[in-house]
Every structure is written in structure tokens, then in C-alpha cells.
Amino acid sequence: MKVGVVGVGCSRFGTRDVTIQELAFEAVSEALKDAEISQDEIELSVVGCVGTRGYELMPAVVVNEYCGFSGKGPIRVEAACATGSAAVYSAYSSIKAGIADIAIAIGVEKMTEVDTATSAAIGGRAGNYLWEFHFYGTTFPAYYAMHATAHMARYGTTEKQLALAAVKAHRNAAKNPKAHFQKEISVEDVLKSRMITYPLKLYDCSPISDGASAAILASEKAVKEHGFDAVWIESVGYSSDTSNMSMRENYVGLKATRMAAEMAYKGAKITDPLNSFDLATVHDCFTIAEIMAYEDLGFCKKGEGGKFIEKGESDFGGKIPVNTFGGLKAKGHPLAATGVAMVYEAVKQLRGEAGSLQVDLKHYRALTHNVGGTGHFAWVFVLGR
């Protein structure tokens, strides 16, 4: 049984003056309208929310009620920054299993209701609190910064190459009305910005954003019955790694990404990832994360991520345009919303509805790559039309 994405919605990301349920409904109502169905036809709802920064500590039922899905779930899922992908997978697997024919995955996060120092302390708990944050104050940027120092030492990756990922993200986000930032920046702006955690500076980091996204999934049977315009989920790969950073094999990549990609590529029979997709959305919560993603997803060899972006291979016109909507870095990274928003973006591109950010379609295939924590979770989806 094939499973298709038949409706997508995404709120504007940023500091949003709405409650979590109001925010979720923005995405849900857009997705329902996109699929041309009502709540009545949805059999199961999955609510992805990390929920550690909001005042609603158990937000699923609040979101579910406001969106009009009372009685149809909700299943609440959490996988740190990869929560959205876990939500999509939960809806996908319910359909695969024949439990539901039409299901919705919602990813929603309110991150701006607490102050920045509190947010940093919560983010630092995305690994193993007791053995790491408790003793050493490992914030989330610190975890990625440690990967950056390892990558720079081993492969000669430069702060300027990292900055290029931020510049590209902002350039794309400037054309995306749903992005948190709509301002282009220069390499110099990045290099001169305030140090957050060496070597990552303010503009190397994704912002703290509110946001919501939703994807309606349907079985092949339902697609035929309703006449939906479907983008098919061709394969899914997932993996995870140790909660303790000190237990990792090395710090120059994310093993969970490599494992998830291997599984997804095998499922979709992809042997040459660089030449199989029209675009990829990768998890660029920090600039170093995008550089490592190119390598771990097999777009280039390990250690060559810096050169890959320098050559423009991940830009429009390059071998594989990456994060055409501005990425987590400039569109924003409202944790649970991110993974579902990646599906939204892939669907919009594959349907040719991406406006001024549209890529040329040749393969009619897109990849989404969503990481939870610092490679604590990883998800890769292959979508095709």
C-alpha cells in the first residue's frame, strides 16, 4: 500500500503573537484547504510537539481540540528537533498498517514564551542532562560547536565556509514570506557577529522561533477515491545514537544521519544520491550541521562539505539545491514544526508551486533530512511525484 501526502500547510515562522493551538490551526486549516477535505474525513491525528518551552506541558489535546480533531487521536510524539518527522512517520505507518486511510501529522512549537537563557538551558537538555548539562553546561549550540572544532581540525574546514551556509539560507529566506528572517546577509556579517559558542557566531545559529506545519497523508485507495493530487512517500529511513556526546565514535559527522540515509536510499533504490533529487531539505540548525549533512547524506565525500558549498553545488543551479526555503537557519526552527515543514517544502517544490524559489524538476524526487538533538535521532524521507 503506497502512502501519499495529499495536503500541506505551514504557518509563518517567527515570534508569533498567538497561542500554540491557534498557531497549529493556521497550518491545519491550510492543509485541509489544500487537500480539499474537512476534519470529518481525517481518521487519525498525530500531534508532534517537544513542548518543553511552552506553558502547556501536555499540549496535544489542547491542539487537537482547537483544530477540530477531538476523538481522532491524538497520538503525541516527541523526538527532539526531529519530532515532526516522527509525527509524519506515525501517520504514515498507521496508513501502511491499514489502521487508517487518511491521517494528519501536525508539528507545532512555541519557543518564544521563555527568555533566551532559559531556552538555552532547555535546549542543553536535548542530550543527557545528568551526565552532561548538569556538570558542563552543554548548550545545544555547544554540541554542534564541538563538531565544528573537530571538523575544522581534521579537514581544514573554515569559518568562512560555514558562513556561506548562513548567507545562502538568508538569501533564500528573503524570498519566502513564511520565513522568520527576510534579510540577506554577507559573509562578513556572519564573521563579525557576536560569539555564541566558539566557533559558532550568532549568524551560524538558527533562531528561536514559533511555528506550525501540517501534512495530510492518505492511502493509495483513498487517493483514488478522493482524486487527491498526491506526492508519494517512496521510502523512509530512521536511526538514532547515544544520548551522551562523550560516547560517540567521532565528532566530524552524525552516524544517525548516515544510517537513516542508507535505509532510505535502500528503500527507494537510490545509489547515486547526488544525482537523484531535484532538491534536498537538510537539517541546518547550525551552519556546521549543513556542511556535515552534505557529507553524511552522500552528496560529497567526508571532509569535502566546505568545498561543496564553496562551489555552489547546493545552491540554485548547482547539483542539488539545498534548503531552498531558507532552511532552519533563516526560515526558522520551531522544533516539532521543522520535520513536517520539510515535507511541506518538498511537496510544494515537486508540485511546481514554489514560486520564485522553484527548482527545475527533472527527477521529480526530493529528500528531507531531519535531525533530533545532535544526531540523537535522524530521519530521511524520499518523496516523489
Binding site: 538555552a120 538551558a121 548538569h134 556538570f135 558542563y136 555547544a142 572544532t149 566558539y198 559558532l200 562523550s246
Partner: protein
Amino acid sequence: MIVESRELRMKHRIPVTKTERFWKGLEEGKVFKTVCKCGKSYYPPRAECVCGNSTEWAEVSGEGTVECFTVVHSIPAGYEWSKPYRIVIASFGDVRVMGWSEDELKVGDRVTLYTAKDGSGVWKVWFKKV
């Protein structure tokens, strides 16, 4: 328009009985890992191996190699008392250890470890450049 939530304070009481040797060790200047007769070593230490056996305590000592590091300038809640701090992961044989360091370190540097209280009174691992 904004309204403020009722304040909620959370400070947890964390049971560390199974790894007490480690926590007491820090106060004695020692850093412990655990090892299992199946061949696995654990740092951070754990009392049970995933294979099901009980593990044994062993000291981490000697010289290690810096694998990666960072200096945190954007200070999170809970560390307001601290100036920017350097976090380091160094490998010591079959385990990797996280700690703080006052020394300027780079990847590949050789280090030794010691224990001391930080500015908030918490005993922890520190690294010194060799």
C-alpha cells in the same frame, strides 16, 4: 496582549545511588568508568552492562587526547555564576571523557584530568594541558 503564567519552579532530586562510586570519587580526585567482563567499557559509568552483567569500577587516568572543544559565551540558565567556559571531550583509551579546562586547548593536544569544584560548588572533571 500578553498575560503571565503562574510561576512553576522545578528543581529535581536525582537518585545517583547506583553510580555513587563515581560521585564520591570526584570528591577524592578520582574519575571512574565501569567495565564489563563481556568487554564493554562505560563512560559515563553505569552499574549494569547492556548484556545483563553487573559492571566493575575502574579508574580513568593517564594522558588523554583532545577530540573536540568549544567555549560557551552565551551562558544558559543555571550557569549565571560562570564566565565563558571551555568544554572539552578527550579520549582516554577505550572511553571519552567530557570536562572543563582553564587551558587554551586545540584538537589533538595531550591532557591529564583532575577533579575540582566549579564556581557553584559542583565537583566535576577538569583537564590540564600536558
